[in-house]
Symmetry: C2
Subunit: 337 residues, 2 copies
Amino acid sequence: MAATIKDVSKDANVSIKTVSRVINNEANVAEKTKKRVLSSINKLGFRPNKSAQSLRSKRSFIIALLYDNPNKAYLADVQSGIFNACKLTGYNLVIQECDYKSSDLKKTIFEFVEDLKIDGLILTPPLSDMDDFLEYLDKHKIEHAIIAPSILKAESLYVSSNDYEAAYTLTSEIIKHGHKNIGFIKGHPKHSASELRFNGYTDAMQNYGLKKNNSWIKQGNFSFKSGFDAGVEIFNSIKIPTAIFASNDSMAAGIMKSAQMHGLKIPDDISLAGFDDSPIAHQIWPALTTVKQPVEKMANHAAKILMAKFDGLNEQSQPKEFKSELIVRESLKNLIN
Amino acid sequence: MAATIKDVSKDANVSIKTVSRVINNEANVAEKTKKRVLSSINKLGFRPNKSAQSLRSKRSFIIALLYDNPNKAYLADVQSGIFNACKLTGYNLVIQECDYKSSDLKKTIFEFVEDLKIDGLILTPPLSDMDDFLEYLDKHKIEHAIIAPSILKAESLYVSSNDYEAAYTLTSEIIKHGHKNIGFIKGHPKHSASELRFNGYTDAMQNYGLKKNNSWIKQGNFSFKSGFDAGVEIFNSIKIPTAIFASNDSMAAGIMKSAQMHGLKIPDDISLAGFDDSPIAHQIWPALTTVKQPVEKMANHAAKILMAKFDGLNEQSQPKEFKSELIVRESLKNLIN
DNA sequence: ATGTATTTTGACAACGATATCAATGAGGTA
DNA sequence: TACCTCATTGATATCGTTGTCAAAATACAT
């Protein structure tokens, strides 16, 4: 039978309350007492009963990851980052898939949080940008950390990446390779990253004095198929660009496939660039020039600042922006010389 | 403030115990009483406090998914299948990444299960085949359902797919396309599927009177890189096969990349086949001939039979074998005529 | 009508922690 | 010594359920 506080208290010859104090690292326990209690805890292999803790103290040491049908690799990275943060602190992770369009999203999540006494949530796009949902969480004092929100509110916990800059840099890189006719595939309209990336592209084009051609700019939704379809449209048009920048790698892979089916060689006939550095970026040939986002690290940090908040630690609580890294691979042709 | 059993019992004018009986669907509650209680529950919006339930009854209505660094798409599918099963029953899902090589795997999982009062586990390969771990779970009466174990024990809960048959069928299909020189890339040695798939290949070759060539048979580990490396080796050898069957799609994609870098055209110079129908199978060009496993359905069923067991339902509890589906795409050339 | 079996119900303890608040002890001051 | 303060400790109530077991109500047989 597992040991209880009572057992420990007897063994250490103190009251159960004192043991509780030690467990919870409360102030005002004499050093000597604390040592004695800790050694009893160790000796008996005592681990607090989480249900009882949770019942009394209304917290569970569980955090939840909320997501809506994201890219699988992205989800796995996020999850892994959070999980590793949890391992350090002893928190557990439950996952909750949800439908951001559902009318009872709020109710579902509220009950989920209440029932499990979830200590806090981690939100991924597109939930990260649902203002009324975020407001609802605030109103009901449901703690949460947001991954990649579009609006960075100082008072909220979030991690973000420099999507705009990275897209600007990547576009510049394409231009520096001598390209002037550059198409763009937009991402999912509900993901804030889509707009940021598009803006990065737009501003770079403008600053280098290049003109955008609207027939080379297509709306996608981050899926392979949407990239493929966009590719088909573009390649069937009268004049095709020399390079296409897709807002993520899946769509870039879709374009690559449509190009290849169209008899176009990459990068000789058309250069491509993606975003995210998902596995597919280097699993196709030629490998994609792309931008690597430290997704796992971001998620890890999101979890850390969330949990730090529970423990009243504030030092780490600053929102943090993570830098992306440009990865130049074979899919981009140098037109100069 | 959320309503408690006490509130309901007052409202329905019964004892709290009777309310508890209704909540738990226990026998021997008069129909009339039950109705009255249910309507009070509804009226007050009562939801049982899980911490209290868990504390008293030692169950949590939580199941856990255990995995060790699998393919990301596979993980996402498994997770999604389980999650959908949970949604129907009101269970929650917590995920636990673990290291199958770790020496304190047992201890970690035991404490995890005890602390959270986890009702049951779902195991994915390679954990599905760790006999001493499974024995340990049995010994400590930790309920679990196993996805794709190699040894199908009648007394345990599992779901499996027909890897052997599917590999046999796919190999036959390759042979029927006129191929005689067929290479094979083995999967991760700790995953039982690896052996089954290899056996399917071996037996098909034998039954069609074809000889295996050991320099075309390479050990991989299901990763893209291991496929790539195997491809490099094979394509650098003096004589190359006309087709290669890789035990999964990632490795097949790896081979494809190495082939393309080697200047080989697919399927004209070399035919390829994979296994799993992961996203990459159709995101590359030419798309891979492969075998589609109903991973999500399998995981869904695993979760269902596990939860059915908790509720004493046995009807659904039969282990179930799921059938894979052959998907012929462009990566396989017909050599006949 | 009576006794017996069975169904239905409720009073109260228990699960294992934390919260409240009062009691104790140590240290300092007059 | 007597008094006060503040750190340390413990007795007991409490969180919201389910488990135990006995009482009450009902059904059934004689």
